[in-house]
Amino acid sequence: MRSKLRILSVCLAALLVVALYPSFAKVEIVFWDPYGPPWDKLLEEGTANIQAKHPEFTIKHEHVPWSGLIQKLTVAVASGTAPDAAHLWGTWWAVNLGVQGVVMPLDEQIAKDKELSLDDIYPGYLETFRYDGKIWGFPDSAQPTSWMWNKDVFSEVGLDPNKPPASWGDVVAFSDKITKKDSAGNLIRIGFIPNNMWGGFYNFASHWGGTFYDEKTGKIKAYNETNLKALQWQIDFTNRYGGQEVINALQSGFGAGADEAMVSGRLAMQLATHYHYYFRHVAKPDLNYGFAPPVLPGPIPGDEAKGGMVCANAHVVFASTKHHWEAYLTVRDYMTEGIKAWIKLSAHASVNRKVNQRALAENWIAEYYPRELWRQDMQVLEYNRPLAPIPNFSKLMDELNAQTDLARLGKKTASQALQYVDEVVNKDLEKVLRRR
């Protein structure tokens, strides 16, 4: 009898251990990132920073090349093996996957988080992740734009090297002086290229104060007065210097290093972001450049731009995770701990203004990056405007870039191009929302 009892108690103890084992085991968060070498090291360093802050759980960092990430994610989600969190290129993925129920809203975790204050995050960056009243992820970093110009070219053509254009009219007047053509009519230098920036026309029009979303109807409204003016300005500017094909020919010779547009002196003014400064520093550390806020008064009174659009990537938590809190902490702390490695290398800013203030005070911003520019960036970030909160944002970007290209090529008028964008994107939006 006694031996039977002993066997029974041993069995019970073993069962108890098996049942309780998962709660004693250290939680592991699987985090996917799409960066390849050599930039993957920065992400790994970011993860290591977060890991140091949270020794209570383990972060397993897995690289998945971007062009295969969505396919791998589809298989993983369908088979119930999705990671806990991921870094996705493009903020819009958060809302897109949120609408499909693939990623989870973070509001519940934010509500019980005593460390995070949403007020610390730049409003445009936070709002880009808000859809249907919920926050579907966090931005990885902030990439503010600034007006950058080549002072040597300004001096060469008799412009004051310390005086940037003060209006879009100035951009044309300066470009007239800067632009040079060879005897065959090919451009060899131009003052400014309207669409030569991340986000294309969306970003350009944002600098004019343009909007693309109608809050009342919840639909895209690219066809509006400000956007029309911005696109018409692009068309007129392009035609002034020989047309889009002539500018394309100049751009096709732009490369990196010494052939980089501004380093080679073939472009004199640009709405630049931190990576332009980084690559120009690498290619030509002694480039004589100036910088100023990107805010140029638009032609419509009271329609001054507010620093352009939000430019970032997304960190999301997948709905299938069993460790909501730890996965949330991982993506939350990329904004504060993970970003440090990027700030040190290429002056990416954090979306958390306190981190940026600390970076400045403690001097861990990339050495080459002017501190005055960092201060300016911090102001610009306050005004960066959120992207249109729609689940098919990438469709909007694709259509907008294609249609505005056609307009600059003279194949469509500005009105036709923008009206077409509204029609196609809203039709697609309806389809996406119907599938929800």
């Binding site: 960066y35 390849g36 050599p38 090349p65 396919q71 490369g255």
Partner: protein, 305 residues
């Protein structure tokens, strides 16, 4: 020639031209060589067109970023930057990814060869009930797009605990591949039945006939299977992408993709081209030595891998 010359002389006299003008006209021999010459010129220009991306890749692999986007393009790097290859080897994590690729490659090639040939032999030579029905079912599996079966197969492998191991990439090859089975069956069927009958009379069993008689006669088609299986596995990026998660398990194709996507706008094209060249070279070498079988494979099947 002399007849041509006299004809040319008469014509020249009639037209008032010096005879040497007509003598310069092509002879019959040259005339007959003309179509051939045109074909060579056409063939050479087409091959230059096809080779140019490869040559551009090689040229770019030796350039630094300042030389890559120069317009008009420069073919000869000046100064050359061979360091790109060292960086590429490092970025590809070459020793690990090459070893992984070789492991998967040997597993799939041997597996495909053995399993497909034995199944093909069975379909071609042996007699068993429902053989033709099973053959049609086997063929119909070729029509199912891989995307349809991807998730169910992944679920099974995940359930077996095989994700992030090489097993999902190797084991299926040991269960026969429809295309190779079809190819081998057709070849086995072309071998005279008298050979296997004679072996059977001499006391040879089915496996003995397969192993001792049929396989040695099938060397050309087995070479085609090896070649196609090698190319499929070497170039396969999707399988490793789905099943392998740890970087220590990556194959060369997967590492190449990661290398080419540093951070979108921050890509180093010189290094990427060097990495591409490193990955392409083994395929070129295999093709160089096995092009006879490659062409044979195309003529046998009408397909190119």
């Amino acid at each position: 020639m002399s007849r041509f010359n006299s004809w040319a002389g008469k014509l020249a006299a009639a037209e008032g031209f010096p005879a040497r003008v007509f003598r310069a006209l092509p002879s019959k021999r040259v005339k007959s060589a003309m179509p051939k010459l045109l074909i060579y010129i056409f063939g050479t220009s087409v091959s230059v067109m096809f080779l140019s991306p490869l040559l551009w890749m090689l040229s770019t692999a030796f350039k630094d970023m300042t030389q890559i986007f120069v317009f008009p393009p420069r073919w000869i790097p000046n100064p050359p930057k061979p360091e790109n290859f060292l960086t590429a080897l490092k970025w590809l994590n070459f020793r690990t990814t090459f070893t992984n690729t070789l492991i998967i490659l040997s597993g799939t090639v041997i597996g495909s060869l053995f399993s497909s040939s034995i199944v093909g032999y069975s379909f071609a030579v042996l007699r068993w009930p429902g053989k033709n029905v099973f053959f049609v079912i086997m063929l119909s599996t070729m029509m199912i797009p891989a995307a349809v079966t991807l998730i169910p197969i992944f679920v099974v492998f995940n359930w077996l605990g095989w994700v992030n191991t090489f097993r999902p990439l190797i084991v299926p090859a040991w269960f026969g591949q429809p295309f190779f089975i079809f190819l081998l069956r057709q070849f086995f069927m072309s071998i005279p039945k008298e050979l296997s009958d004679a072996a059977q009379i001499d006391g040879c069993g089915d496996f003995g006939i397969y192993w001792r008689i049929m396989l040695p006669l099938c060397k050309p088609v087995l070479a085609v299977v090896i070649l196609f299986s090698f190319l499929n596995t070497w170039n396969d990026f999707f399988g490793p992408l789905i099943y392998l998660t740890g970087k220590d398990k990556w194959t060369l194709a997967l590492a190449l993709l990661a290398t080419s996507q540093g951070a979108g706008w921050m890509a180093d094209w010189g290094v990427i081209m060097a990495a591409s060249f490193i990955v392409v070279v083994p395929v070129l070498i295999v093709f160089f030595f096995a092009q006879r079988y490659f062409v044979q494979g195309i003529t046998m099947t009408g397909l190119k891998v």
